[in-house]
C-alpha cells in the first residue's frame, strides 16, 4: 500500500468520504434540503480524480495502472463505469429531492447509503481478483438492502428482507464457484487464471474440466442474481415494488451496470480460454430472460412491477452482447459484443431513468403506482407524459432513440458470431414487449383522467428529466462518439 495506490483508489475513497460527510451534515444541519445539493456537488471530487486518472493512462504503455497487490486496476474500462455510475447517482439524487423531503427521518442516510453503494460499484468495475470482487460486491449490495427497506412499511420491509436473504444466498453460491475455480487453478488473479487454464484443459469435457464446469456455472448464478437474469430473478418484482421508487430506478440501472462490468471482466479475461462454452450458456440464459421477462410483464397492473419484468427482459438483451464473444474467434477481430454492452448500458440507463423519473413525479401526486392511475396524464401533465412516452418508445427500441441503437449493436454483434437464432428470439421479444409498453401510452393519452388537477414538478427533478430525455435523443441520433469511447474501453478485455 503506497500513496500511488491511494491515488488509484481516489475516486472510490472520495465517494465514500462524501457519503460520510453527508451523514455528518445530517446530524448537524437543520435544513435537510442542503444534503442533496452536497451529494451532487460533492461528486465533482471523484469526477475530477477519474478524469485525472484517464489522463494519466495515456502515459502508460499497456493502458493500465495496477495497484494494491494486483487486486485493483485502473484502465479505460473501469473508468468508463466510474463515469456511468457517477452520472446515474447524480441524476437519481436530483430526482429524489422531493421524495426524500417527505421522509420524516434518515434523510442524510438515504443519500449516504446511495453514495456508499456507488463506491462499491466503482470498485467492482476495477477489481482483477476474485476476492476483491466479492468484497466490492458486498459493499454494493448491503447499502442497497438498507435502502430497499427504507420506508419501513410492510411492503418495503418485505423487499428488504427478501433482498437480504436472497443476496446472501447468491453470494454463497458465488463464493463456492470462486472456491472451485481457485481449487482448479490455484490462484484468484484473473490474469493468472487465464494463463493457468491454457495448459490444463481437457477438450473432451464441457468447460475443460468438471470442477471448472461447476465453478463457472456457480459464478454465473451469483452474477446472474445481480443483473436480474432468469432463473435468478425471483427477488426482482417484489424488491422493485416495495423499495422507494428512486431506489428502484437506481437498482435497475446502476446495479445492473456494475454486474455487467464484472461479468465482462471475469469472463473475458479470466475464462477467455473456454469462451465458446460460457458464450453458449449466456446465449441460453439471454433467450430465457427475454422471453420470461416480456411474457410475465404483460400481466402486470403495477407500473413498478411491469418495469421490473422489463428490466429482466433487458438483462436478456444485454446478455446477447456477452454471448457474442465467439465473434473474436474467427476472422476479423471485432469488439462489437462487449462494446455494444457498454453502449446499451448507457442507453438503458438514460431511458429507464427517464421513465422512472416521470413515474416518481406523477405518483408523488397521485399516490399510486397502478397503471390505471396514469389515465389522462397526457392532459394533466403533458410534459411528464411526453417524456414517459418517449422513454417507453426507447425501451421498446424504435428509432430515433438510444434504445434502438443499443438493440441494433446487440443484434449485429450476435449476427457476426453466428447467433442468428438468438437474434430471432430477440426480435420476436421486442414485438411482444410492444404490447405492454404501448398499453401505458394508451392509458395516458386515450383514457379520461380521474381528476383535472395539473401536476407540477420541482426544479431538480425537472432538470434530471430534461437531461435523461436529451440523452435518449442524443444517443439515438449520434451514437458514434459514445461507441468510440466504448470500443476504447473494452480494448483492455482483448489482449
Amino acid at each position: 500500500m503506497t500513496l500511488h495506490d491511494l491515488y488509484l483508489l481516489s475516486p472510490e475513497l472520495s465517494l465514500a468520504s462524501l457519503g460520510m460527510v453527508v451523514i455528518i451534515l445530517d446530524m448537524v444541519l437543520r435544513r435537510k434540503g442542503v444534503l442533496a445539493a452536497v451529494s451532487v456537488v460533492g461528486l465533482l471530487a471523484p469526477l475530477a480524480f477519474s478524469i485525472s486518472l484517464w489522463g494519466d493512462l495515456s502515459g502508460e504503455p499497456d493502458g493500465q495502472m495496477v495497484g494494491i497487490f494486483n487486486t485493483l486496476v485502473v484502465d479505460k474500462f473501469s473508468l468508463f463505469f466510474k463515469f456511468l455510475v457517477m452520472g446515474i447517482v447524480a441524476l437519481v439524487v436530483m430526482s429524489s429531492v422531493e421524495y426524500v423531503s417527505r421522509l420524516r427521518q434518515f434523510q442524510g442516510e438515504y443519500y449516504g447509503l446511495m453514495l456508499f453503494s456507488a463506491s462499491g460499484m466503482m470498485l467492482l468495475a476495477a477489481t482483477t481478483d476474485l476476492i476483491s470482487t466479492y468484497v466490492a460486491l458486498e459493499l454494493t449490495t448491503l447499502p442497497l438492502v438498507a435502502l430497499a427497506a427504507f420506508l419501513r412499511d410492510s411492503r418495503s420491509t418485505e423487499a428488504g428482507i427478501k433482498f437480504l436473504l436472497l443476496s446472501a444466498m447468491s453470494s454463497a453460491v458465488l463464493l463456492y464457484g470462486m472456491t472451485l475455480t481457485y481449487g482448479f487453478t490455484g490462484t484468484t488473479q484473473l490474469v493468472e487464471i487465464f494463463e493457468r487454464l491454457g495448459a490444463s484443459l481437457d477438450a473432451t469435457v464441457p468447460f475443460g474440466s468438471h470442477a471448472l464446469f461447476l465453478g463457472v456455472i456457480m459464478i454465473v448464478a451469483g452474477f446472474g442474481f445481480k443483473i436480474a437474469a432468469v432463473p435468478f430473478q425471483m427477488w426482482v418484482p417484489d424488491v422493485y415494488e416495495g423499495a422507494p421508487t428512486p431506489i428502484t430506478a437506481y437498482l435497475s440501472v446502476a446495479s445492473k451496470a456494475a454486474g455487467f462490468a464484472i461479468i465482462l471482466r471475469v469472463f473475458y479475461i479470466g475464462f477467455g480460454e473456454i469462451s465458446l462454452d460460457w458464450a453458449a450458456l449466456f446465449a441460453v440464459l439471454s433467450a430465457v430472460s427475454m422471453t420470461v421477462g416480456n411474457l410475465v410483464a404483460i400481466a402486470q397492473k403495477n407500473i413498478k412491477r411491469m418495469l421490473a419484468y422489463s428490466t429482466i427482459a433487458h438483462a436478456g438483451f444485454l446478455m446477447v452482447g456477452v454471448a457474442s464473444i465467439a465473434a473474436r474467434v474467427p476472422v476479423g477481430e471485432t469488439t462489437l459484443g462487449p462494446s455494444g454492452v457498454l453502449f446499451y448500458l448507457v442507453a438503458y440507463a438514460v431511458t429507464n431513468l427517464a421513465a422512472f423519473f416521470a413515474i416518481i413525479a406523477i405518483s408523488n401526486r397521485t399516490g399510486s403506482d397502478m397503471i390505471s392511475s396514469f389515465a389522462g396524464m397526457g392532459r394533466r401533465a403533458p410534459f411528464l407524459a411526453i417524456i414517459l412516452a418517449f422513454a417507453i418508445v426507447s425501451l421498446l427500441g424504435i428509432p430515433p432513440t438510444a434504445g434502438f441503437m443499443g438493440k441494433l449493436y446487440m443484434f449485429s454483434a450476435a449476427m457476426k458470431s453466428d447467433l442468428a437464432w438468438l437474434v430471432v428470439v430477440g426480435v420476436v421479444n421486442s414485438a411482444i414487449s410492444a404490447y405492454y409498453y404501448l398499453k401505458v401510452i394508451r392509458v395516458m393519452y386515450m383514457v379520461d383522467p380521474e381528476g383535472e388537477e395539473k401536476i407540477h414538478v420541482a426544479y431538480a427533478p425537472q432538470a434530471a428529466l430534461y437531461i435523461t430525455a436529451l440523452g435518449i435523443l442524443a444517443l439515438g441520433i449520434f451514437p458514434g462518439p459514445l461507441m468510440t469511447v466504448a470500443e476504447k474501453a473494452v480494448a483492455v478485455l482483448f489482449r
Binding site: 500500500m1 460520510m20 451523514i23 455528518i24 446530524m27
Partner: protein, 127 residues
C-alpha cells in the same frame, strides 16, 4: 492421491461412529438396567431442572429481550474489533512507520464518526 483423500474421510467416519455409539450405548445400558431395578427412577423438581447447580431459573424459557440491548451489543462489537486491530499495530508500531500511523488515525476517525452517529441518534440512552 484420491485414495488418500478418502482415507481422511474414513477417519472422520470412524470418529463420528464412536462419538454416536459411546453416549448412545450408555443411555441404552441405563435404560436396560432400569428393568433390573438397579437404576431407581425417583424424579423430583430439582432433578428435572435443566441445570442442577448454578443460578436458580427465573420465569419462562421464551422471555422477550429488550430490543435496545441489540444496539449496545453492536457498539460493543465495534469497539471490540477496534481493540483487536490496534493491538498488533501497537506491537509493530516502530517497524510500520508513519504510513501505518496515519492509517490508524483514519480508522479511528471513521469509528469516532460512527460513535458520534450512534450518540446523536440516542442509541446510548436506555429508554
Amino acid at each position: 492421491m484420491l485414495e488418500d483423500y478418502f482415507r481422511q474421510y474414513g477417519l472422520i467416519a470412524i470418529f463420528t461412529a464412536i462419538a454416536v455409539i459411546l453416549p448412545g450405548s450408555l443411555l441404552v445400558v441405563s435404560w436396560l438396567l432400569s428393568f433390573l431395578r438397579i437404576r431407581p427412577s425417583k424424579p423430583n423438581d430439582v432433578k428435572r431442572s435443566p441445570y442442577e447447580c448454578g443460578m436458580e431459573l427465573i420465569g419462562d424459557r421464551w422471555p422477550q429481550f429488550n430490543f435496545r440491548y441489540y444496539m449496545f451489543a453492536i457498539l460493543f462489537v465495534v469497539f471490540d474489533v477496534e481493540t483487536i486491530f490496534i493491538y498488533p499495530w501497537a506491537v509493530q508500531f516502530k517497524q510500520l512507520g508513519f504510513f501505518a500511523f496515519a492509517e490508524m488515525l483514519v480508522f479511528i476517525l471513521i469509528l469516532v464518526i460512527g460513535w458520534a452517529y450512534a450518540w446523536n441518534h440516542k442509541a446510548l440512552e436506555w429508554r
